[in-house]
């Protein structure tokens, strides 16, 4: 593309001015068309949210706890704060939570379940610490088994991070994959549990965290107990320390 005057720019610095320039250049006709499109998108968005809430209500009182309830409870705990989801083993946050700020979600690794979440969340919490942003993560239990020494790092350096463990007691995506493979290779379906479930003994992530100096509660099996535990955890995080709440959860 031919360029008259090449100037190196920074997206964050340039986009607000560019956005205003584009807005001012829009004709009245075009503005009306955009308003129509906006109305349709708002309606689609409202329907999508309603659908997500309806799906989230299914199994609401289940124990092991539903991941939708875990997500909704976490949101209600931090909704009055500036918040950031640094990592999450569930997708409900994206479907349910009203994210309006650039720092609300920082994305994912692209290769979940192999130890990215906990170190990434601690790093994000360190970066957010001086910005007044409450950093939270929903840690897969299997994922947390890869590099749980980072809990000590968070305690040692007083990095305020609220971690909720999505403790389905399995490397769950592997469970489901092996179920598929069992079907494909004509094997018994219950063989999928071999080498993929994390039980017998069950891991107590609250004790694991405590052993490294991190405030913690759990394992929680009563879904009604999640909210109060998260509130206590938030109080710890707000005084500048990490906290972990271990919730025994549905597979997904």
């Amino acid at each position: 593309m031919p360029v008259d005057l090449p100037i190196s720019g920074d997206a964050q610095a340039t986009l607000p001015a560019l956005t205003e320039a584009v807005k001012n250049a829009i004709t009245l006709t075009r503005r009306a068309a955009l308003a129509d499109r906006t109305a349709k998108l708002r309606e689609d968005h409202r329907r999508m949210k309603d659908r997500a809430r309806s799906e989230a209500s299914q199994g609401w009182d289940a124990s092991p706890c539903s991941t939708a309830r875990m997500s909704a409870t976490l949101y209600n705990t931090i909704k009055n704060e500036k918040w950031c989801v640094a990592a999450s083993g569930v997708q409900w946050n994206r479907n349910l939570w009203p994210a309006t700020e650039y720092y609300n979600f920082i994305g994912s690794s692209g290769g979940s379940g192999v130890g990215y979440s906990a170190p990434a969340a601690v790093g994000a919490a360190l970066a957010n610490r001086d910005k007044g942003i409450i950093t939270v993560s929903i840690e897969g239990d299997g994922d947390l088994m890869y590099a749980n020494g980072v809990l000590w790092t968070a305690a040692h350096h007083k990095i305020p991070l609220l971690m909720m463990v999505h403790n389905n007691r399995a490397y769950h995506q592997e469970v489901m994959h092996l179920q598929k493979m069992a079907g494909l290779h004509n094997r018994r379906m219950d063989t999928a549990a071999i080498g993929t479930t994390i039980d017998n003994p069950n891991i107590d992530y609250a004790k694991l965290a405590q052993s490294m100096g991190v405030w913690s509660e759990g394992p929680i099996t009563n879904p009604a107990a999640i909210g109060p535990a998260l509130s206590r955890a938030l109080a710890v995080v707000k005084r500048g320390e990490p906290a972990l709440v271990d919730v025994v959860s549905q597979g997904r």
């Binding site: 991941t67 469970v175 489901m176 598929k180 379906m189 997904r252």
Partner: protein, 119 residues
């Protein structure tokens, strides 16, 4: 063309529903069905209460179950990502028991009745 397709889909759905709805399910034990549901790990994708799961892993199964014949067809020769549960590993009686267990599933509260979802 689109309307024709919708009409055709509606007719097919109505016909299938009528065909599958003809035979009532054979009697089964809900207690044994719950044990089989857990043993064969149906819960991994569909949840322990058959409520379905995050990320489109497995759809909600109940309440509002498929007719029995359709349920058997889906379990034995599934469409989409579900693995087949063949007769040599999951007997007809176990399948009937699972159906009986799922049939007792109570509805979850409506989203509008849940304050934590009011945001």
């Amino acid at each position: 063309m689109r309307i024709h397709k919708l009409v055709l889909a509606g007719l097919l759905a109505a016909t299938a529903s009528a065909v599958f709805a003809q035979d009532p399910p054979p009697p089964g034990s809900a207690d044994r069905g719950q044990q089989a549901y857990m043993k064969y790990m149906c819960y991994t994708c569909h949840g322990t209460l058959a409520q379905g799961a995050d990320r489109g892993t497995g759809p909600k199964l109940a309440p509002g179950m498929l007719p029995y014949a359709a349920f058997v067809l889906q379990v034995r020769t599934p469409r989409l990502d579900m693995p087949p549960y063949r007769q040599q590993f999951l007997s007809d009686q176990e399948l009937t028991d699972i159906y009986a267990y799922l049939s007792l599933t109570k509805p979850s509260p409506a989203a509008k009745e849940i304050p934590l979802l009011d945001f």
